[in-house]
């Protein structure tokens, strides 16, 4: 059964009415002054996409435009030509709904389970040179921007380094390299770099009531190093950012930032509690009550709230931050 189609000869944009039929492994076009037969092997049937016209590509740039989809499919079927599998999938609402659910499931499961596992596996296998290069570059850039040289006495610094080494928190004789810096506007803090360097701020040392509180913070940082949190965070963060930008960045780059930040918070909370758990175990083994870490955390929160000018009762952002309060509570429960 022949059907109506528009024929374009590839040399002019003239539209010509033709009757199209498929028979005996040949495509046959008939119209005013047109009688063209082409072997099916040399013809390309473009797949059907929505209700728009469908193309039959002929050799030397000519093509037919078909709009009667039902008749055309019947014609192809009669000639033994089946549509590709994907063509059907793209038309079904049921498949579309199922695909939507699968895409969502992949995203949620990938975020909760897949990405953390992948980041851990990759972090474990990355050569140590990468850690070192990354840590050095990070510290160098921080030194240029936020940090300045430590104002602590050399003897005080040495005392802390020796005390910390003697303590041997990990129990394997491998202590971290300590770097002292003045944090300035950043307030009392300490952070670990992927290669096992811990940067301790003067403000933290001055804020601590005794050295055990500093060692408690170092135990926590050692937890981050032990589990390679720095590298894993970096890997997870870049994947989340890349996916969010690809997903919604076309609409607005600014809009993509908010969910990215929100999604990364969850990861960082997990890492904090894991590092806390590590610190609790190590501190206990060395007869330092884990509550000393809680004491120090509380003092850091207070110092920060004071600095932000927030009144103490309503506590500013950080102290009322449920995550920090939860951490302090858990550490107290640990003794």
């Amino acid at each position: 059964m022949a059907l109506h189609a528009h024929y374009y000869d590839g040399r002019t944009p003239r539209r010509q009415e033709v009757l199209l039929s498929v028979a005996e492994s040949e495509l046959w076009l008939q119209g005013e002054g047109i009688d063209r037969r082409e072997a099916l092997a040399s013809v390309e049937f473009a797949e059907r996409l929505g209700a728009g016209p469908r193309l039959v590509r002929l050799p030397n740039g000519a093509y037919c435009e078909v709009r009667d989809h039902a008749a055309f499919e019947a014609e192809l079927k009669a000639a033994g030509l089946r549509p590709s599998g994907i063509e059907g999938l793209q038309r079904s609402w049921r498949i579309a709904v199922a695909s939507t659910l699968i895409v969502m499931a992949v995203a949620v499961l990938g975020y909760i389970y897949g990405l953390p596992v992948a980041a851990r596996v990759i972090a474990e296998r990355l050569p140590k040179a990468v850690d070192r290069q990354l840590s050095r570059a990070t510290l160098a850039s921080l030194d240029r921007t936020w940090l300045s040289a430590s104002k602590l006495d050399a003897s005080r610094r040495e005392q802390l380094v020796h005390g910390y080494q003697r303590l041997d928190l990990g129990g394997d004789g491998q202590s971290l390299t300590l770097e002292f810096r003045s944090g300035g506007a950043l307030g009392p803090n300490a952070f670990a770099l992927p290669d096992g360097t811990v940067v301790v701020f003067d403000e933290l040392v001055n804020l601590a009531k005794d050295d055990d509180e500093i060692y408690a913070v170092l135990a926590h940082e050692q937890g981050h190093v032990h589990y390679q949190h720095g590298l894993r965070m970096l890997l997870q963060g870049s994947v989340v950012a890349a996916v969010m930008t690809a997903w919604i960045g076309d609409v607005s780059t600014l809009l993509a930032l908010l969910p990215t930040a929100m999604l990364q918070t969850r990861y960082s909370r997990e890492f904090e509690s894991q590092a806390d758990a590590y610190a609790v175990a190590q501190l206990r083994a060395h007869h330092i009550p884990p509550s000393r870490l809680a004491d120090m955390l509380e003092r850091m929160v207070d110092a920060r709230a004071e600095k932000a000018g927030g009144k103490h009762e309503d506590g500013g952002f950080l102290s009322s931050h449920p995550a920090t309060q939860d951490r302090i509570r858990l550490l107290r429960e640990a003794g």
């Binding site: 000869d9 728009g52 435009e65 695909s99």
Partner: protein
């Protein structure tokens, strides 16, 4: 210039473009291809891209016939792999050493006009209407001239101001506003125009050439209007903040005082107004004006094109699309794209000077997809 061969009364009637696609239709195509792209770790995305372009091309009709896209997925995949490689080399060299990163960036910058031209060639050679292919005949020299000349001029002005400053502070201070005006209302629009002129003057349909006739004055005027609106939104937001501030509804930080976070939180809705104003209105305004200018100044042979985008309608579309996308966590995307394509098509009209059947085909070798893919990965969004 009027065509002398076909008297006006015999010319064909104007043809307005139509978009026949629907959001539901495109959603079903999009989601299946998205899933396949995820499952194949991105490899399938080249096939997905071909489908997307084919869907939008075929659904865009002029005088009862759709456009067609002929790009091959394999060519796009190769281009994509190379583009990702380039991006990785750049990122890696940047973390390894800033100096190396900078030289890689410079190298990429130097090849970018070539990539730009390749992408135009690939896209146009793979587009057809009524079995006649589009094409691109712009020269490589033209690409370098269009992209680098304006850029160099802008740098030159910056250097001139710096030198003036070094000679005398007074002269430098006087020169800054002049250089600013020159930059925003002459040099930048001229650069913008040069790139568009390169694109449109180089484009072909069959053997017929497109030509571009917009003047620098017309470009400058749009930049000036956009700037004026930006200024207006800034002033309105400022007055609002002032009024609310004096009524003690919000506490603005006084100079030298630490800002109170709570008072800052009250500023959020104001910033929201500013955001909507700047990002959601300035964009559509500029795009509507610019697209209208570009298409109204473009001819295909003696055929004219008319574009009638309205900034307000585009603003409404952007805003509702944004709300839809946010509320559905991104799944509204296909509908958003279809709504934009429909409005875009319906505001474009071809005003023929003679019968459309008189075009003649030209045959050119195919071009590679690397340029186009590099552009979409590096996000040098030069085309409007």
């Amino acid at each position: 210039m009027e065509n002398e061969l076909t008297p006006p009364e015999l010319r064909p009637a104007p043809e307005t473009m139509r978009f026949t696609g629907t959001g539901g239709e495109y959603f079903r195509i999009w989601i299946v291809n998205l899933l396949l792209s995820i499952v194949t770790v991105g490899i399938y995305s080249a096939w997905a891209k071909v489908r997307r372009l084919q869907y939008f091309y075929r659904s865009t009709e002029l005088a009862g016939t759709g456009f067609e896209y002929h790009g091959k997925p394999m060519a796009i995949l190769v281009g994509r792999v190379l583009a990702v490689l380039m991006l990785l080399i750049y990122k890696y060299s940047l973390t390894y050493s800033p100096a190396l990163g900078a030289s890689v960036f410079l190298l990429l910058l130097l090849v970018s006009p070539w990539l730009f031209r390749s992408s135009l060639r690939f896209r146009l050679h793979n587009s057809s209407y009524r079995s006649l292919r589009f094409g691109f005949k712009g020269t490589l020299g033209g690409a370098y001239w269009a992209t680098f000349f304006g850029f160099l001029m802008m740098i030159l002005v910056g250097v001139a101001v710096a030198i003036a400053f070094a000679i005398s502070k007074l002269i430098g201070t006087i020169l800054i506003p002049i250089a600013g005006l020159l930059f925003f209302f002459v040099l930048y629009p001229a650069w913008y125009r040069a790139i568009k002129a390169y694109q449109h003057n180089g484009a072909r349909y069959g053997q017929s050439a497109f030509s571009f006739h917009a003047t620098l004055g017309q470009y400058s005027w749009i930049f000036f209007l956009t700037f004026a609106i930006l200024l207006g939104i800034g002033v309105v937001t400022g007055i609002l903040a002032g009024v609310l501030g004096s009524a003690d509804l919000i506490a603005l930080p006084k100079p030298g005082e630490k800002p109170d976070p709570k008072a800052f939180a009250a500023l959020a809705p104001l910033l929201g107004v500013f955001y909507i104003g700047v990002f959601l209105f300035i964009g559509p305004f500029f795009r509507a004006r610019m697209d209208n200018l570009i298409w109204n100044s473009t001819r295909l042979g003696e055929h004219r094109i008319e574009s009638r985008l309205s900034a307000w309608r585009l603003f409404g579309l952007y805003l509702t699309n944004l709300i839809g996308i946010v509320c559905t966590l991104g799944f509204f995307w296909p509908w958003a794209m279809v709504r934009l394509a429909r409005y875009r098509a319906e505001s474009l009209t071809l005003i023929p000077a003679e019968s459309l059947d008189k075009f003649v085909a030209s045959h050119d070798p195919e071009t590679n997809a690397i340029g186009e893919e590099a552009f979409s990965v590096f996000d040098f969004d030069i085309a409007l």
